[in-house]
């Protein structure tokens, strides 16, 4: 079961962002979200290296080495954008000013623990960057991820096996197979067409519950 493509996952997430939200985009899948925001809805995207009002990548030849995102890629600014230092930018998360961080994830546990910065035994020096700061302080944290590893092993688990980014922070999980709320355990709100609840349970490493109003997962027309 492959379910949604990466673009379809990010399209699905974009449909749920409320008008006027300040949203941080984590590295990886979340960076694909902005083009899918429905027209007429204003979302202000933050990049934690000091940008609010991040626009799309520049046209070739228009890159500015002094205007980059947290992934160190050149970006543009939208009208109304602002710049701040790292001190001011990083108080926006723990201070509760960012409405929703959208974060990539290696693993999420049934109580909302997030692991998204380090896999085991990768032989690299440890480096967490901004991952832990982003996961702390917002009322909602949405995780975007493939439902299983390439080998088909679950990545939604009773307990994360990788080093944690933050405990009990994820409130919603969007995968290629389902949309799941973390609310006293895992509540399945949407399942991709062609997959039933029992099959989804076998691909999930923790007990899931079916929401009474569970719907087929929406995709772009």
């Amino acid at each position: 079961m492959t379910g949604l493509s990466r673009e379809q996952i990010t399209w699905r997430v974009a449909q749920d962002l409320p008008d006027g939200a300040y949203v941080n985009l984590g590295i990886g899948l979340p960076t694909l979200v902005p083009p899918f925001v429905p027209s007429g809805r204003e979302i202000v995207f933050q990049s934690e290296n000091g940008l609010l009002g991040v626009g799309p990548a520049p046209a070739p030849g228009a890159e500015d080495p002094q205007l980059i995102n947290a992934g160190k890629q050149p970006v543009t600014l939208l009208p109304g954008a602002s710049i701040s230092s790292h001190s001011d930018s990083f108080l926006m998360m723990p201070g509760g000013h960012i409405d929703i961080p959208l974060l990539g994830a290696y693993q999420v546990s049934e109580r909302g623990d997030l692991a998204n910065w380090m896999t085991e035994g990768d032989g690299k020096p440890p480096g967490v960057g901004g991952a832990m700061d982003l996961a702390v302080g917002a009322k909602q944290v949405w995780a975007l991820m493939e439902h299983t590893t390439r080998k088909g092993e679950p990545r939604i688990l009773e307990r994360c096996t990788y080093e944690l980014t933050a405990p009990r922070c994820v409130t919603r999980i969007y995968t290629n197979l389902a949309m799941i709320e973390v609310r006293d355990g895992l509540l399945v709100r949407e399942i991709v067409e062609g997959l039933d609840f029992a099959a989804l349970q076998t691909l999930t490493g923790a007990a899931i519950r079916l929401a009474p109003d569970c719907r087929p997962m929406r995709t772009a027309a």
Partner: protein
């Protein structure tokens, strides 16, 4: 008061010694004090503790000091872009104290403000919390982090005046303003140097009190680490 020096070597004269702690502004290769880093490389001081978000890349930025074996310890948040760093770290030649990025910024802010320690939620319940004091406030758990200062802070700014007032450009601001506050001595390299009164006082980001020495870096290099652009429109 004369804060202006003719070049990076002159600006660092009398400040460098083995075993010292240096803060270096920048995020990736964006907004780094390139000429001051080169002058530290030429000076050859060793056993440095360097506080900087990243460690440059191979052959650029702080990567130059790594190549020359001048750094004994890094206090950073992310060092993934530097192969030489990984080699030296895994060989046990280099110590690393890694921090969440916002915690690093706040540790420097606290240091510059004379605050020895503070509590943050970031890192609670993770390996970052190991060995640190935990306290509960209003039903939530927080870990204690220490303020950071340095013997020397080197920063980059877009514009400066001879009083040491600094103005930054776009995301080259990053850690530079906060590091300028936390050095015993702060040396700034600026792309454009002006006489006092040139800038609207309301637009100055770093007041000159934080900057002791300044150089005019007319031709510092600016590089893009991860080049990404939108696709060319199809004809």
């Amino acid at each position: 008061m004369n804060k202006v020096h003719k070049d990076a070597t002159a600006a660092l004269a009398g400040l460098l010694r083995n075993g010292m702690t240096i803060m270096s502004g920048g995020f990736g290769l964006c907004g780094i004090p390139e000429l001051l880093i080169k002058a530290i490389r030429e000076a050859g001081v060793k056993d440095l503790t360097v506080i900087s978000n990243n460690a440059g890349i191979d052959g650029a930025g702080l990567g130059l000091l790594l190549e020359a074996g001048q750094i004994a310890k890094m206090i950073s948040s992310y060092v993934g872009e530097n192969k030489l760093f990984a080699e030296q770290y895994l060989a046990g030649k280099l110590k690393l104290e890694f921090n969440p990025q916002g915690t690093l910024a706040e540790r420097i802010r606290a240091g510059g403000a004379g605050i020895p320690a503070f509590f943050t939620k970031t890192g609670f319940g993770t390996i970052i919390a190991e060995g640190k004091d935990v306290r509960e406030f209003d039903g939530e758990s927080y870990i204690m982090e220490r303020g950071l200062t340095a013997d020397l802070a080197i920063v980059h700014a877009w514009k400066g005046d001879t009083e040491g007032n600094l103005v930054y450009r776009k995301t080259a601001r990053n850690f530079n303003p906060v590091m300028a506050t936390a050095g015993q001595v702060t040396v700034a390299e600026v792309e454009h140097l002006s006489e006092p009164g040139t800038f609207d006082p309301d637009h100055i980001v770093t007041p000159g009190i934080f900057v002791q020495r300044i150089i005019h870096a007319k031709n510092a290099e600016k590089r893009i680490e991860q080049r990404t652009t939108r696709p060319r429109p199809t004809p």
